[in-house]
Symmetry: C2
Subunit: 258 residues, 2 copies
């Protein structure tokens, strides 16, 4: 039997996924800007927690403001913004296989790399770039992944996220990536702490049943799967099985919460 | 304790890998052309068994003749030459993600595909092509892989083979590929049968400890790892552990055999 979701009165703050929850393609998802404003008005702390690693925090804040959201750069937590600390801790000097747009948030490319840092590089996942990363790994380099999401819904249908290319390099070099973004337990705990709340008081709201929902629950948070973005009907049973709620949208859930 | 390799007098025929065993880059490996001639002179049957799926059997035969080998197209067995029968058996209509050079040996691209056939497409592993294949799989399509080799030694160092990209699509769509080439058991057995020999009388000679050596032994053949091509020192212990022989080169092994 699936565990019961935590009572809604016990949820004191939210971590909110961005792509597929706040916006889709080039539009805000209906009601989501008002939902953030409502959280703010009710004094419910939140952070935006995203693995969509093609934009810096500053650019993402700017983009969201363009969609009508009121949001500060400091409210956004990304794997890249976390990567510098993680790599410095490990003495890792990275070769970067990330989207060029993300470079300002990333550690610098090392002259003599002993590691690879991979994100969803999109069209920059060329055969040549994959080979360059592979040659660092086969020389003994460690693999760090900003995320391991499988796919997302882009403007032209489903597109591969970083995960499949992480899996490709893991398979090629016989290594396992150190995951920095969702669903890494540390990433959820860091974000909850940044919001000033104990993990068990926080719910993660996302459209990815594996990375957002199961990841958050494994880390001791609550989770809400929304029926927007890349949601597919078959995700619902899986989310409920893990003890998550399912809501029509962020707006719908926030309206229940406040 | 590692199993003993089969006595050399019990080996009546060979399956021989091509890249890294017969030639490397743009040159024949020393002594390999003479080794094939010696096998022929001694009446020892052999087939060339390759996963290097960037060339048709006809083009590969022509290329090998250019390196000084005497070889007929019919002596070469490739995953593509086997794929047509396998896909027809399953009623699979493929979308092709293979190297364009290989197209003449492949089943035709289907107008409404219900499957993906993937080979080592090299620089044609673009983000767009990977996404197109992924969209067939997420729609319920079956994944067929000509090979799942990890990497090979190209003219510019180590390059990714089909395997990592197969792993990427498997991870993305949550499916497992049907493997057509090495190390598929059926592929070794078909090749031994084609050479007119029982599997236990045949040795596979290759430079890939996983795909050639362990694959052949799992299928009930003997195996010989050669120290040419992509051979790395650490491969030797792994090969011996599986009960394989290790030889300096094809020429060296054939000289012991004849």
């Amino acid at each position: 039997m699936a565990p019961e979701p935590k009572a809604i009165r016990d949820i004191e703050g939210l971590l909110i996924d961005v792509g597929g929850v706040l916006y889709q393609g080039s539009d805000a998802i209906e009601g989501s800007a008002e939902a953030l404003a409502r959280l703010r008005g009710a004094g419910i702390p939140f952070r935006l927690l995203t693995n969509t690693t093609r934009t810096t925090r500053a650019a993402l804040a700017e983009k969201l403001r363009g969609f009508g959201f009121t949001v500060q750069e400091e409210e956004i937590i990304t794997p890249a913004s976390t990567a510098k600390a993680v790599l410095a801790r490990d003495g890792a000097l990275p070769h970067l296989l990330v989207h060029p747009c993300l470079l300002p948030d990333c550690p610098a490319e090392a002259a003599s790399p002993n590691a690879v840092l991979i994100g969803d590089a999109g069209e920059h996942f060329t055969f040549g770039n994959m080979n360059r990363a592979f040659n660092v790994l086969i020389g003994g380099g460690r693999l760090y992944a900003l995320g391991k999401n499988r796919f997302f819904r882009g403007e032209h249908g489903f597109e591969l996220d970083a995960g499949p290319f992480v899996a490709a390099l893991e398979y090629a070099a016989g290594v396992e990536a150190v995951l920095i973004g969702k669903p890494s337990r540390d990433f959820f705990l860091t974000a909850a702490k940044d919001a000033g709340l104990a993990p068990e008081r926080v719910a993660m709201v996302g459209d990815d049943v594996e990375s957002d929902v199961e990841g958050a629950i494994d880390a001791g948070l609550s989770a809400v799967l929304v029926r927007t973005g890349k949601f597919r009907e078959e995700d619902e049973a899986r989310a409920r099985k893990s003890g998550a709620r399912v809501a029509a949208s962020l707006a719908s859930f926030v309206s229940d919460l406040t």
